[in-house]
Structures are given as C-alpha cells and as structure tokens.
Amino acid sequence: MSSQPQTALPPLGVGILGAGPVTQAIHLPSLARLRGTLEVRHVMDVDPQVAESVAARVGARFSTTVEDLLADPAVDIVAVCSPHQFHAAQVIAACRAGKKAVLCEKPFAMNGEEAAAISAVSAETGVPIVVGAMHTFDPAWLAAEAAWGDLPGQVHTVRSSIVLPPNPRFEDFATEIVGRVPLPSRDSTGPEAIGAMLTGGVMGLAIHDLPLVRRFAPDFASVEVLHADTVRPFGYLISLRAGSVTIELRAAMNSTWEPAWTFEAIGNDASLCLDFTPSYVHAGSATARIRRAGTTTVLGPFGHNGYEGEWREIAAIARGTGSAPSADTLLHDLEFALAIAGGEAPAPAREESLA
C-alpha cells in the first residue's frame, strides 16, 4: 500500500489540542506522510513554549487555549490529544464549533455520563467523531477482517499481550521531543495503588485492543472480571469472561528493548494472530495470520500503521467519502473498557502450591 494517497482537492486543515509526546512522535510524523491531504494549521498546548515549538515544526499557528484553536477558520478537523480528563469537554466544544470532524485519542470519555453527552452533541451537530483506536485502522487488521470468514462465530478465547519499554525509548526514535514531563514514580503497593494501576492499565494500555476484543465477544455487556493482578513496574494480568468467551489480558511495561504486541482470537477450527508494531516508531502495519488446520494465511505487513490509517479515514469522513463509526460502536467500546476497569475480581479460591 502506498503511504501517499493521490488527491486533487486542497488539503484539509488540522488543529491539535495538546502537543505532548503523542502529538509530536505519532501524529505529526503520520500527518507529514499525508501532506496534500491533511495539513496541520494550528497547535494548542497549555505550555506556550511547547505549543510554539511544535507548531513551528509544521509552519502552523499556535495558541494556549482551546477557544483560540476552535475559532480558527483554517481548522477543519480537530484532534484531541490532551490528557484523558479533558477529552470529553474538548470533543463537545469541537463539535459545537462546527468543525468537519473530530479525532479524539482514546479514551474519549472517562465515564458513561460524558460518553452520553458526547453522543448527544455529535447527533445534534452532525459532526462525526472518530476515536483513535489505532489498531482498528491498522491495514493488517482490516485485511484480516475481510478474510476471516466464519471466525468470529467460533471464537471462544481472546488474548491480548503487550510488552513494551517505557514510551520515551520509542518516542526518541520518531522525533525530538520538547517539553517531556518525567514519568512519575509509581507506588505498586497497597490496595489503592494496585487498583489505580489496574484502572490505568486498562484505560491507558488495554484500551488499544479492547475494540478488537469486543469484536469477538458478542456478549460484551456481560463481561466479568474473574481475576486481576498487577505486574511491576507497570502492567496487569486480567482474566475476563464475556458470555462464552474467555478473555485474557497481559501487559508489562518493563525496560526491555524488544517490544511484543500480540492479539489472538481462537476458535475450534480457526484462529487469528496479529503481531502489531509498537506505537511511536512508524514501523508499518501489523502482520496478521489466519490459521486453519494445516494452512496459514499471512496478511501484511503493509507500509503504514493504524495511526496513519485513522488519519486517512478521518480525511475521507471529513470530505464526505467515508462513513463515521456509529455512536453505538464508540459507546460500546467505552462501556466495555469502563466495565473492565471498574470490575472487581472475586476473592481467591482453591489455592494450591506446586513446588
């Protein structure tokens, strides 16, 4: 797949709320490959030096308030890349500003009330919203979806396993970061700290793959947390059940140099395995393998990843040639994540030692 789509139309203007490492290392390099389709015209950050520096890289205006960016008529599409707690309010404001589309980093809300408010505003204003669940835009995922046939109906087990070094290692391969905030030291002891790590793990890390998980868990609304534990220094081990589907989530952010990001959906006769490239490094798409007894179909890798894929999609939506995801899809993805993050694992039972 080419990373430079052909178009005769003038580029759409992009405004970015929040100019932290994700904007600098992921979105700007992705948009740079889509020059001619999308053009960054305004960058906002509460830190004026960061806003100015990041905007200067792409010849865009900068500001330190949401209002200034939304008032900029050159901005057609708003990307919400601010900290999680600001997402809902900024998405709503962008819709009310009458922009052509809004891209919001996941999660787009932190509770059901925020999600309902966003859904209502999107319906009222007609502004399409895309949540940056990048793996759902990965070309290998899309190719697998087109090829997996009867797989979803037979899947009984889903596994998501994420092993990554701390973000700065990969951010520095993608760009030169300004305004990096040192990672806070993490307390991993005590019930509150453990609860916070599990919630943070689900809403900050597992959430990347939960829309994929949900695709194979039709009874997602019944999801139960069967077991949850933390992994030091940051990570989780979570066992879930949604209807008849077993879901196992693993993550470890240690100091490894070797990332491993795998998603598996397994049925009696067929299975899907996706090996994703890590975020930040722009190393192309995942590679998907659909296996049936004695055969393996390999799809990918393709030349761009899901972040670029989501920008391509939002450009098409803003131009009216693509379809925005349904509000139900976004809401259900969020409800699924919130149910897992807020779920309590039952007390241990039938413990035995094997030594």
Partner: protein, 272 residues
C-alpha cells in the same frame, strides 16, 4: 557392544513406538512374539485411563521397565509400589515435560530459566490441545512442563474452565504473578509456551507436539541482546526411550512416578 533391549508395545501404540525404537536400533529391538519367549525387557503402555493397572501387569509379567506414553491423570501410588517391589523402572513419556529442552542435564536451558526467575515480573504460559481432548489431561501435561522447566508456583487456583480450556493463576516465589492458560483449537498444532518476563527482557520456551521431531526453542532476551539456544531435533518420545535405556544400564531408579504423584495430588485438589 551392548545388547538391544526387547520391546513390546500394545497394539494401540504399536506404530508410534515402532517408529521411535527404529531410531534407536542399537538400544532396542522388537520383542519376538513367540509363545516360548520370555517377557520383554521393556513394555510400552498407552497412557489412557487404566494405564497404572496395565503398567503394573507388565511389570508383574516380567518386564524390567515400562514406558507410558501420554499418561492421563491417574493415581500412580499402587504402580509405584509394584515397580519398587520388582525393581522395575517406570518412565513417563509426557509430550512437553519429556522434551530434551527441559532435561535436567540441559545446563544452558536451566541457566537461562534460573536467571529469568530471579528477576521475573510475570510468567505467562499457554498450552494448546485439539478440541475434544480431556482438559484434565491438558492441564496435567501443562503443569508437568512448567514444573519440569524449573518453575515453582505458589497459591495456584483455577480462575476459569470450560470445554474450550482453562486459566490457572498463582505466584512465582518472588511474588510475581503467574498464569497458565489451556486452549482447545485445531487451528495450530498442539504446543506449550512458557514465557518469563523480567525487568529487562524475557525467556521463552516453546515446546512442540512430539508427533514429529520439531525442535523446542529456548530463547532469552537480556539488555545485551537475544540468544536462541541450539535446537535439538529430538522428540519427547525418543528422549523418553533413551532415558529408559540409561536407567536400565545404570540401575538408577526412576523418579517419574514420584513427580507424577505430586502432580496428581495437585490436580485432584484443583479440580475438587
């Protein structure tokens, strides 16, 4: 030059056993099936339900050793008594625990596992079997492989189980979480993986189905890079037969039933 040990296999396991002993032609030979012949030196017993009784019968009939292929979860105490009283060796040919990669003598594999366990942050192990296979058998084979790799587990519990698999959770001795998942699927060959994540890397052991001599893989990732240990193109079956030959040659006792008894006890408690 040593004399080949005579081998008798029950009809149900005749083919696979013949294939293995054919690869050890100096050590073993088919037992001549004549009415006047003595008991075979070694009897091969299939591991489906009742294997402990069949193995004991073979020993009582005069075999010096029994090799049990894929033993199901079954109390081996009575067999252990018979074996000890008759000075017979019992070797359990388990599909993953029997892999040469997990042999106690495989010092390099032991070393990378030991090193990883000292700094482990998570153990994640997955075992795959064909749909329809007894989940208890899978769990037994899975636990046997994890144990054989040198991993100790505390506080093991059943998180979930169904006809499609199971999840067990526990802790490593250093307090790091551990999960063992069994999955039934025909989409890939049966295999088991044991992954030990550390603060700076990982160690992965991949154990193949022993129906062919696919090599196990032991791979270690540290801050300085990755290392894959030399592959051994030998199935767990063949290694089991080499083991029984060595036991009979040296006169050393087999500890397989002792380990299996501990495993059976754990399985019984987990599944009660």
């Amino acid at each position: 030059m040593s004399t080949a040990l005579s081998v008798h296999a029950a009809t149900e396991s005749e083919g696979p056993v013949a294939a293995v002993i054919a690869s050890l032609p100096v050590s073993f030979a088919p037992h001549p099936a004549t009415p006047a012949s003595a008991a075979p030196d070694v009897t091969a017993v299939a591991g489906h339900a009742g294997w402990t009784r069949r193995a004991a019968e073979a020993i009582l009939a005069g075999s010096r050793a029994v090799v049990v292929t894929a033993p199901a979860a079954e109390d081996p105490q009575a067999l252990a008594v018979v074996a000890e009283e008759n000075g017979a060796a019992v070797v359990l040919d388990q599909r993953w625990a029997g892999s040469p990669a997990l042999a106690p003598s495989h010092d390099a594999a032991r070393a990378v596992v030991t090193e990883a366990l000292e700094d482990a942050v998570l153990l994640d192990s997955v075992a795959i079997c064909a749909p329809g296979e007894d989940p208890l058998t899978l769990m037994a084979d899975h636990l046997a492989a994890v144990l054989q790799s040198g991993v100790d587990l505390d506080g093991l519990k059943v998180v979930q189980r169904s006809s499609s698999g199971y999840t067990l959770a526990g802790k490593l001795p250093n307090g790091a979480p551990a999960a063992l998942q069994g999955i039934a699927t025909a989409s890939v060959p049966a295999a088991a993986t044991i992954s030990i994540l550390t603060s700076t890397g990982r160690t992965d052991i991949t154990l193949p189905d022993p129906s062919a001599a696919w090599p196990a893989e032991v791979r270690s990732v540290t801050a300085s890079g990755s290392t894959t240990l030399p592959t051994i193109y030998e199935s767990a079956h063949r290694r089991s037969w080499r083991r029984v030959r060595r036991l009979l040659s040296t006169g050393r006792p087999s500890t397989d039933l002792q380990h299996f008894a501990a495993l059976f006890s754990l399985l019984t408690r987990l599944n009660s």
